[in-house]
């Protein structure tokens, strides 16, 4: 597969995954770019053992998990008062809330629900995260319940 096509097809998907994980558009951009840098470097080694989607989502989610290192360095408190969040305020409040709620979930749940919302098949999610399909199904169900509850608290 040609890198340019992959980049074209997956950029938004990967960006959303990263955005769900960190809920900070600048950081999500960085993480997505890093993901594609790794994809670029590793692409010659891709052997079709899994689908290209599974492969790319694995790289992206692992990169998100690894970024805790960075999170530790700039904790939210150090940032100037929510300058970053103000910038997105023009967006639909529902979109903002969804990404905010997801980023507040436990780390692995963030990845699972992001993939589900991206319409990745549950068997594939299982292959990305490394859990059984039934386990994933249960988790998705619980996460959706949690999100619905959060939305209701906000009057939706």
């Amino acid at each position: 597969m040609v890198f340019e096509d992959i980049y074209e097809f997956y950029w938004q998907k990967i960006f959303r995954l990263c955005m769900g994980y960190v809920n900070d558009s600048e950081l999500a951009q960085d993480l997505a770019q890093e993901t594609f840098i790794i994809v670029w470097q590793q692409l010659p080694k891709f052997r079709n053992e899994s689908s290209i989607g599974t492969w790319i989502f694995r790289i992206a989610s692992n990169n998100c998990l690894k970024q805790i290192e960075r999170e530790k360095r700039f904790t939210k408190a150090d940032l100037p008062v929510n300058l970053e969040e103000k910038k997105q305020e023009s967006q639909e409040p529902q979109i903002q809330l969804l990404y905010q709620f997801i980023s507040e979930l436990p780390e692995t749940d963030r990845i699972i629900i992001s993939l589900e919302l991206e319409e990745v098949k549950q068997a594939e999610i299982a292959g990305i995260v490394g859990l059984s399909e039934s386990n994933i199904r249960v988790k998705i169900h619980r996460i959706k319940e949690k999100l619905t509850k959060r939305f209701k608290e906000y009057g939706y």
Partner: protein, 196 residues
């Protein structure tokens, strides 16, 4: 509970400007450079120092066994440090990011624990060998000095060693440990999420 909110639809409305290829490739170069620079600089510095010390042996032909042992200890200290440092770098570098999250987290956790061992144990070994080497090395030259100067030379060395050992070393180790322990705890917690 009725799930009447169309999460998928809301989710998909988020989008971001895709950086162009040039920008991405520019980032790639920077990314590679940053990762390698520190490794290369450390390697070059320590190797140059080792060669420098080796040249001292060659040109000044030390007579006493203490001097020779000292030189060997110092060079060995640096080589061991370099070996461990490079090995750790490779561990991080070779971490396969195309495995499942579960496997990846497990390996990341293992690497991080190795890093912790390196930073404490290896650092101590390095300092001890370096200090012992310097003290042995100095003996031949100080033994030719007047007693007062010899004592002064050793006193100055010990002050310097003491400063390194009792101030710099614990400070560095503590700083690295706080950071690493935080990370290790966090990874443990995430691993736990996957076990539920």
């Amino acid at each position: 509970m009725a799930t009447n909110i169309d999460f998928k639809n809301i989710w998909k409305q988020q989008s971001s400007q895709k950086p162009n290829m040039e920008e991405l490739l520019g980032r790639l170069k920077k990314f590679k450079r940053e990762n390698l620079r520190k490794l290369i600089v450390t390697n070059i510095l320590l190797i140059i120092t080792s060669i420098g010390i080796g040249l001292v042996w060659y040109y000044y032909q030390p007579q006493l066994i203490t001097t020779k042992t000292g030189i060997i200890l110092v060079i060995l200290a640096m080589l061991i440090f370099l070996f461990a440092y490079n090995k750790l770098f490779m561990l991080f570098y070779k971490l396969d990011n195309t495995q499942t999250n579960t496997e990846y987290l497990k390996n990341l956790y293992v690497v991080q624990n190795k890093q912790k061992f390196m930073q404490t144990t290896m650092m101590n070994v390095y300092f001890i060998m370096l200090f012992a080497g310097i003290c042995l090395y100095m003996y031949e030259y100080t033994s030719r000095m007047e007693l007062l100067y010899a004592v002064l030379a050793y006193a100055a060395t010990f002050v310097w060693i003491g400063f390194n050992w009792f101030y710099l070393r614990p400070k560095t180790i503590k700083k690295q440990e706080t950071k690493l322990n935080g990370l290790i705890d966090k990874f443990e917690e995430i691993n736990q999420q996957l076990k539920e």
